[in-house]
Amino acid sequence: MIRGEKLSKRYGDVTALSPTDIEISTGKITAIMGGSGSGKTTLLRLLAGLEAPTTGHVWYGDEDLCGMPVKRLYELRESMGMLFQYSALLNSLNVYDNVAFPLHEHTELDESVIGTMVSMKLEQVGLRGFEDLMPSELSGGMAKRVAFARAMAMDPRVVFFDEPTSGLDPISAGVISNLISETSRKNRMTSIVVTHDVDAGLGIADHVILLWQGCIIAEGAPESIRNSDDERVQQFLNGRPDGPIPFSRSTTSYIDDLTHKPGTVRFAS
C-alpha cells in the first residue's frame, strides 16, 4: 500500500497541490485524472519521491519516503519503474542500451541473458529489430514504447506512468493503454497512471482519482466516477466547455480591465 498523508506542494506563491490524503492499492491500477494544471503530475512526482512535499508524508508500507536515507530510497527504487511524459530516453544510448540500462546497472547478469531479456521486452512493445536506433530516430509513439520497455526491464512492483498516451495517435495510445493494463494485471503490478485521456483512464483503471485545482473532487471505481452527480466531474468526463470548471484562468474580467484602465478602450455611450 502506498499512502499519501496530508500531501501538499507549493511553488513560491502557487499552490500546486492542497493538503491531500491518498491511498494506492497494491496490485491495482490507479488513474489520477484531471485537466491541465490540476496538480496530477505534481502528485505523481511526490508519490515517486522525485520532489519533496511542502507538507505531509508518503508512506510505502510503514516506511516514510520523506527523509528516507538516500541508500534506502535507491534500494526501494530498484523495484520501481517510471514512464515519463516525454519518454526521457538517454539520448546518448541506442534503443538496446536504453532498455538494458537498469539491467546493466543493477544486475550482474551475463550480457547474453540481458540481450534475451531486452529482446523479450522489445517484442512485448513490438519494437524487436529496432535495437540499433538512437532516440532521435524514433517517433513519439516508438519512444514511448521503448520507455515502457525500459520501465518494465527490472519487472518492477510499482510503476508510475506520467501521461502515457499524450501526443500519440489513437492506435499508439491504444497500444500503450493495453500494455499498461495487461502487464499490470499479469505481473500484479501497482500502477499509478496520470492522464487526462478520459477513455484511457476509465478504461484501464481499477480506481480513479479526479483532481481539480490541486484538490481531489472525486474518487472511486470507474463506474462510480462515470455516474457521479458532481457537475465538475461530468463536465470533465464529457469535455464540455461550459460548466463549473472555467476555461479562462484570468482572475479579473477582461471587459472591466479594458473599461477601467485610464488611457485604454472607451466604449461609446
Binding site: 515517486a48 522525485l50 538516500v70 535507491y74 534500494e75 527504487r77 530498484e78 520501481m80 519503474g81 517510471m82 515519463f84 511524459q85 516525454y86 526521457a88 530516453l89 538517454l90 539520448n91 540500462f101 537498469p102 546497472e105 543493477h106 508510475f160
Partner: protein, 266 residues
C-alpha cells in the same frame, strides 16, 4: 522636501537591489559548493564511476586537444614576435627564450588553456546537463536508482580537474616550441642562447606553480559548469542562459583566482 525623499527612496532602492543581488550571489556560491562537494563525496562510494570518468576525460581532454595545440602555437609565435621587438631595443634578444618560457609556463599557459577548455568543453558540459534536466533524463536516472550527482556531475568535475593540467602542459610545450621556431628560424636569434636562457631562467618552482594553477582552474571549471547545468531552469531559454553564465562566471573566476594564486607564488 519631496525631492529629498525621492532621492532617499532611489538610494534605498539601489542599495536594496544591490543587497538582494549580493545575497543571491552568496546563496548560489553556497549552493554550488554544497552540490559539488556532495558529488565529490560520492567518489569512494560504489558503484565506481571509472568508465564514465575515462569517457569524460576523453571527451573533454582529447576533444580539446586540437584547439589547445592551435592556441598554444599562435600564443608562442606572437610572444616571440612581440618579445623580440621589445628586447631588440635593448640589445637583449638572447633573453627571448626566457621571456617566452616564463610568460607561457607561469601565466599564459594556465589561463589561456583554461579559457579554451571553458569555451570548448565547459559550455558543452553545462548545455548537456541542462538538456538532460529539460528532457527529464536526470529524473529517469533517479527513478532507475542511479544517483545523477554521482553519474553525471562527479566524472565531469574529476575529468576537468585532471584534463586541464594535462592540456596546459601540452599548451606550454607547443607554445615554447613555436616561440623557438619564430625566434630562431625566422628572426635569427641564436638557438643556444634561446635554450640556455630558457633552461636557466625557468625553474621547477615556476612549472609547479603553473600546474597548481591549472589544477585549481580545472576543478573550478568543473564545479561551475556542472552546477550551472544542473541548476538551470528547465526550459530551452534557461539552458541557453545557463550556458552563457557558465562561460562568463568560469572565465571571471579563472582571472580572479589567477591573481590570487600568482600573488602566493611570486
Amino acid at each position: 522636501m519631496s525631492d529629498m525623499f525621492t532621492k532617499q527612496s532611489a538610494t534605498a532602492t539601489f542599495f536594496g537591489r544591490l543587497g538582494r543581488h549580493a545575497l543571491r550571489g552568496i546563496e548560489q556560491i553556497g549552493d554550488a559548493t554544497m552540490l559539488g562537494l556532495g558529488a565529490l563525496s560520492l567518489f569512494f562510494v560504489r558503484p565506481w564511476q571509472g568508465k564514465h570518468f575515462v569517457l569524460q576525460l576523453s571527451a573533454l581532454g582529447v576533444g580539446s586537444l586540437i584547439i589547445i595545440i592551435i592556441t598554444g602555437a599562435f600564443t608562442g609565435m606572437v610572444l616571440a614576435l612581440q618579445g623580440y621587438y621589445t628586447l631588440a631595443k635593448f640589445g637583449s634578444e638572447s633573453l627571448l627564450g626566457a621571456g617566452v618560457g616564463m610568460s607561457i609556463i607561469r601565466e599564459l599557459g594556465p589561463v589561456l588553456g583554461a579559457f579554451m577548455v571553458i569555451g570548448r568543453a565547459g559550455s558543452s558540459i553545462t548545455a548537456e546537463i541542462g538538456i538532460m534536466r529539460v528532457t527529464e533524463q536526470t529524473d529517469a536516472l533517479e527513478m532507475m536508482a542511479i544517483n545523477p550527482k554521482q553519474r553525471i556531475l562527479l566524472p565531469r568535475i574529476v575529468a576537468t580537474t585532471i584534463a586541464v593540467p594535462l592540456l596546459v602542459s601540452i599548451f606550454d610545450v607547443i607554445g615554447i616550441g613555436s616561440g623557438y621556431i619564430v625566434g630562431v628560424e625566422l628572426l635569427g636569434v641564436n638557438p643556444g642562447a634561446y635554450m640556455a636562457e630558457l633552461v636557466s631562467t625557468v625553474t621547477m618552482h615556476d612549472i609547479y606553480g603553473g600546474w597548481v594553477k591549472a589544477v585549481v582552474f580545472g576543478f573550478m571549471i568543473g564545479m561551475i559548469c556542472t552546477y550551472m547545468g544542473y541548476r538551470s531552469e528547465p526550459t530551452t531559454e534557461g539552458v541557453a542562459r545557463a550556458t552563457t553564465q557558465a562561460v562568463v562566471v568560469s572565465s571571471v573566476t579563472v582571472l580572479i583566482l589567477d591573481y590570487i594564486l600568482t600573488s602566493f607564488y611570486l
